[in-house]
């Protein structure tokens, strides 16, 4: 190949890249290995993860995924990581995306869904930028509650800071765990982000927040867990008018936790905002014989046509995750999703009851919750979580890592995957650890 393009060797091929920009070599990368050796090594590394009973949620949620989901998603017809461009897209792929969009609009109660984004955090950043565009660029400020996932807030900050968008953090009420609006100044803003449930698992007063946004001339952006919508009111019905944009992470819909990704983000909105929406859209049409067909539509928003003024440069994404989510929703159906959501809520309630029955554990926030709740623990939270881990239990997320004022709070999640016996095991271990802690020095629960 080098000979046919007229390069003497590989060095000559890369000659035009300045030496200072070139990597001097890959000293720490070992030599190639056989498939057998690599497989064995991968199994060894995987085993280091251990087998834990997981009660951590905090943005990624363990749900049962029917075996058929990934069996079908792995078929050759679907098996690509990308959302294809028109020329590459088969009618089957386009129809699947169209079905996905239909499912997401029904779940969120809005008019239009795109064909997905990278993940929940980037979807939120895109929604913020979209709201600023919809304000014709006049208002470059967005209200972002402190109860939005801390990693999402960091990503949004990264993506909007160089575009002159100001983010104002809204505080939360320390008793209810809900977002407070009373501390807000009266400067104009383009949008209010409303997390439901919020990072504490708490259900926000979404109707009041949506109406407040609209009464003050702001767009309302819902940030939701899609699984919760099987039980909770759709964002399109929040308040008097419903939200304008809805985003979230699609992981709970058939995507395994797998150490943090790939997941996918979703976005739906009102029809009136569709031209400000980023990402691919599939529409239904008819061919010249009048038969139904599917096409990528509204492409004039996108980078290959609109260039620098595109609504977004996110076009390709984890399309395979959308395939899985569509299959997952189709296999479960509305009743199945409702069962999963209800069971998850029920197990979290049951676990909260068991944990707060322990002498030194109290509920952290008074508000209703979906499938995640927070408890105050009279003890060193990180040490308690370590002790639980030594017993094979991932007990939750230490909120003090992001909220210093919540240093004694554990955020936990119990989905439908947890049996009553699992909950009992967690409660017993926590009670034992906390009672030991009272009687003995810290080393007592090192196992």
């Amino acid at each position: 190949m080098l000979a046919s393009i007229g390069a003497a060797d590989i060095e000559a091929l890369f000659d035009e890249i300045p030496a200072g920009l070139r990597c001097p070599g890959l000293a720490d990368i070992p030599e190639g290995e056989s498939e057998m050796a690599v497989t064995r090594r991968a199994h060894e590394l995987a085993a280091l993860d251990g087998f834990y009973l997981n009660f951590i949620g905090a943005g990624a949620y363990e749900h049962h995924i029917p075996a058929a989901v990934w069996q079908i998603a792995g078929r050759g017809e679907y098996y690509t990581a990308y959302t294809p461009y028109q020329a590459e897209a088969s009618q089957g792929t386009l129809q699947l995306i169209y079905e996905y969009q239909t499912m997401m609009t029904r779940l969120t109660g809005l008019d239009v869904s795109n064909a997905s984004l990278y993940d929940g955090a980037t979807a939120l950043a895109e929604a913020v930028l979209m709201a600023v565009r919809a304000s014709k660029g006049d208002v470059r400020r967005v209200l972002l509650p402190a109860t939005v996932h801390p990693r999402y807030r960091a990503v949004v900050q990264t993506m909007v800071k160089n575009q002159g968008v100001e983010l104002t953090t809204l505080p939360y009420d320390p008793v209810s765990g809900q977002t407070r609006l009373d501390a807000l100044d009266d400067r104009r803003a383009a949008a209010l982000v409303i997390p439901q449930p919020n990072f504490f698992g708490v259900l926000e007063p979404v109707d009041a927040l949506t109406d407040w946004a609209h009464d003050h001339g702001l767009l309302a952006i819902a940030l939701v867990n899609p699984m919760s919508l099987a039980l909770l009111k759709a964002p399109g019905a929040w308040g008097a008018k419903g939200v304008d944009i809805c985003v979230g992470d699609g992981q709970p819909l058939g995507i395994p936790l797998s150490s943090g990704g790939p997941y996918f983000g979703f976005m739906t909105c009102r029809q009136a905002l569709v031209r400000q929406m980023p990402g691919r859209l599939v529409g239904a049409t008819v061919d010249r014989d009048g038969r139904r067909g599917y096409v990528l539509t509204l492409q004039a928003r996108e980078q290959h046509i609109r260039r620098a003024k595109a609504t977004s440069n996110i076009c390709s994404n984890q399309g395979l995750m959308v395939v899985a989510a569509t299959l997952h929703m189709a296999l479960l159906g509305p009743a199945g999703l409702n069962n999963v959501a209800l069971a998850s809520h029920g197990q979290t309630r049951a676990l909260l009851d068991k944990l707060t029955a322990i002498d030194r554990v109290k509920r952290a926030f008074t508000s209703p919750f979906f499938h995640e709740a927070a408890v105050r623990v009279d003890g060193d939270v990180e040490a308690v979580l370590r002790a639980l881990r030594a017993q094979g239990i991932l007990g939750g997320y230490a909120l003090g890592r992001d909220f210093p004022e919540l240093a004694d709070v554990i955020l936990f999640c119990a989905t439908e995957t947890k049996t009553d016996g699992d909950l009992e095991q967690y409660a017993q271990q926590l009670a034992r650890i906390l009672s030991k802690r009272r009687e003995a020095p810290p080393c007592a629960y090192k196992s």
């Binding site: 928003r301 046509i305 609109r306």
Partner: protein, 129 residues
Amino acid sequence: MNIPNDLKYTLSHEWARLEADGSVTVGITDHAQELLGDMVFVENPVLGRQLKASEECAVVESVKAASDVYAPIAGEVIAANGDLEANPDLLNKDPYGAWLFKVKPADASDLNGLLDAAAYQSHVDSEAH
């Protein structure tokens, strides 16, 4: 190609007409609509916006492209053609009847700096080569 003699033109294919009340009506030329093809969406500037000359102020979107519209002269936006929201194809059918927006010019004599029909014709001809 239709290039009426009573209008002023820009290099970026807008037309402008001074009205009896002193306002200036702005649209896109027959040539522009022909290049863009079937129109599907028009985004006009908000009323009251102060435009600078040559500033991007509207977007016309066809089935194959989205194109910015530039203000022919400086002034305040005093009207936008609401008919185009539901019927953007009016731009194809009647490009000189289907105006986009009207401005109250900062200085009506700025119109003298625009192209007349003959100059616009030769601009279009030169672009074709």
